[in-house]
Symmetry: C2
Subunit: 384 residues, 2 copies
């Protein structure tokens, strides 16, 4: 067994509670439904300047401020602020922790409830129902409605955030004036599912996993979760980014033993893995990766992706990155073809970058310029 | 802890013992040195028709016959036999288990010895010295010499086998008439090292690992080794191969719970992982993956890959597969450029295949035709 690690800290997240709960794609109703969220900027009188940001697998609602657990800066703060592409002097930004997450929205760490919403005295754990990307979007829709917003200026997000953007545009087309799916795809590929499965197997293999009831034992499956993070992290980087940063530099020629870190890439990955387990919950990781794996927008429309967007009036901005092999440009192009088939208003850009999938989170001036221009154009058109 | 799994069966492998041992790149001498091997076909009177086959990471010397542990057919039997590219009526084929392996050649499961070759009464385990690809090749060279063979008609191998082929050509150029590195590269990339590191972390994280002394506890780190195999297996397949075989077919729409196999790819990978642990030793996996990670032929020649082949008279046949992303065509092209710079006799072919890295093991007629033609041409030239 590994040494006990303190459970995730309890944080008093900003939240809204829907006592009537939410009925999921699987048919089960979760009640109450809690949606934790953060906002940046000011909602105008017409309530027309709201942009919803959808976060990725291990992201959360702390987009542009210090994270309450890690104390690090927001995950997209490079792009948010006065004068930046997501200009907080012009737009009202909203980001909600996804359903199934571990930063305040209803998820596996919460107290399990029965169909009448009565607490059962123990956390959901692995009894938490399977959620889909569409379930996440429905929960966000409840939040947006509760804020009195009838139409979002835009919904934007990268990676799993981009999946949510597409689901928003397909499920609530009247609510989405503009949609920006970035470094995303309309389905999760077999290879991506397989990498997720490795991560899940690593968590399940950790004896501290305890069949998902680790909290009750005062443990967390830290080693398994770290291995899961490590394999995922590789998929976020390009070979060029890995080589440039860590290459083949040895950490010390004398250290040639079987158990020590030799290549810098190894110690880097180990560090990434161990940091991650202090801020993310294993059951949430399992829940959310499953939601990504199930995502297949065409399958929700009898195999016809264009049908998901039939008659849409939403303006689309699709962006991919040239060295992203997790969500390659070919998948964005397939999405654009379907949007074209639906006669949608769509622009597409492939950003040249050697940073891989992670590029959407990093300082990529061409990407920021393109996204900022798209949003400003939409806002201009609406007189915002 | 996982349930105890029987240790690997003891098999009486064909072998040769070198009592004086082998001095490794790390400076340590291992004595005695045991090299387990298999041969197919007949060595001719001139001893001029021998082809050495070098196996990949988890391969072994049972190339073209039933495996003594799994009972399955040989890993390259599609290409070996009368009238096949590796024609056993024309050539004498040799394959040795690599140094550090677990199928009879000296490795971590053997009894640890002191510098005088005296047994210390316990297995090497993680005290087994770091070996390099060049050390593996030196051990094979001892075997070849002991068989009375002064020059090999060819050395061939895929993946890590191709690394050995290149090291053979660089270290023993007079002994190698022809060299065929297939689906290989002159160095291991940062991304490949990172995937190996995930596998090693999974093994180290398994409580049955016991710091590498699992045999003494009557255990094997089966779960960690299975996860390692799973992640490696993904890298051997192309996205197309994964999609075609396992795609997004669900195993049963009712099975929507967190712990069950849902996607067929998941159950497939789990099966692959669990089969593997019954035939492969975890300490050998650590030892051999390290050897691959250290491999950088240019670095052994002051950063100049062409210098590794300066003045060579060996004929080279370099082959890659179009959807191999573990050892992509670009790395074979870089090798060919270095060989050209060394004015070597080299032919190169990229085989169009959608099977990924694994293609070198599968029924790929274009590849078999090209390799068979190359070998036959060399044999013709030597009057064999």
């Amino acid at each position: 067994m590994s040494a006990p690690i303190a459970p995730l800290p309890v944080v008093d997240h900003q939240r809204v509670v829907f006592a009537d709960g939410l009925t999921l794609d699987c048919g089960q109703t979760i009640a109450p439904l809690v949606v934790a969220y953060r906002t940046y900027g000011t909602l105008n009188a017409a309530k027309s300047n709201a942009i919803l940001i959808c976060h990725a697998l291990t992201g959360d609602q702390y987009v542009a401020e210090l994270h309450p657990v890690t104390g690090k800066g927001g995950w997209w703060q490079t792009i948010i602020g006065p004068g930046k592409p997501l200009d907080t002097e012009r737009y009202f930004l909203i980001c909600a922790n996804v359903l199934g997450g571990c930063m305040g929205s209803t998820g596996p760490r919460d107290e399990m409830t029965d169909s009448a919403g009565c607490g059962l005295g123990r956390p959901w754990g692995t009894d938490f129902p399977n959620v889909t990307i569409r379930d996440m979007v429905r929960a966000q829709h409840r939040l947006v409605t509760s804020l009195g917003i009838g139409r979002l200026l835009a919904v934007i997000g990268g990676s799993m955030g981009g999946m949510q953007v597409l689901e928003w545009a397909a499920t609530f087309p009247q609510t989405v004036y503009a949609a920006a799916p970035i470094a995303a795809a309309s389905y999760h590929s077999a290879q991506n599912i397989a990498f997720h499965e490795v991560g899940r197997a690593a968590i399940h293999s950790d004896p501290d996993w305890q069949g998902g009831r680790y909290w009750e034992e005062g443990r967390i499956p830290a080693k398994g979760l770290a291995v899961a993070r490590m394999v995922a992290h590789i998929t976020y980087l390009s070979e060029a980014a890995l080589s440039r940063k860590f290459g083949r530099r040895l950490r010390g020629a004398a250290a040639l033993t079987l158990l020590e870190d030799v290549f810098e890439v190894e110690s880097y990955l180990r560090h990434q893995g161990s940091t991650f387990v202090r801020r993310f919950d294993a059951n949430s990781y399992l829940t959310i990766t499953r939601a990504m794996d199930y995502f297949d927008l065409a399958a929700e429309h009898d195999g016809d992706l264009a049908a998901a967007f039939r008659g849409t009036r939403t303006r689309f901005f699709v962006a991919s990155f040239s060295t992203d092999w997790l969500f390659p440009t070919s998948e964005s192009r397939a999405l654009v073809r379907a949007l074209n088939k639906a006669a949608a208003n769509v622009s597409f850009v492939e950003i040249t970058s050697d940073k891989g999938h992670d590029a959407f989170l990093l300082d990529e001036p061409d990407f920021h310029h393109a996204l900022g221009g798209f949003l400003a154009g939409c806002a201009d058109r609406l007189g915002i």
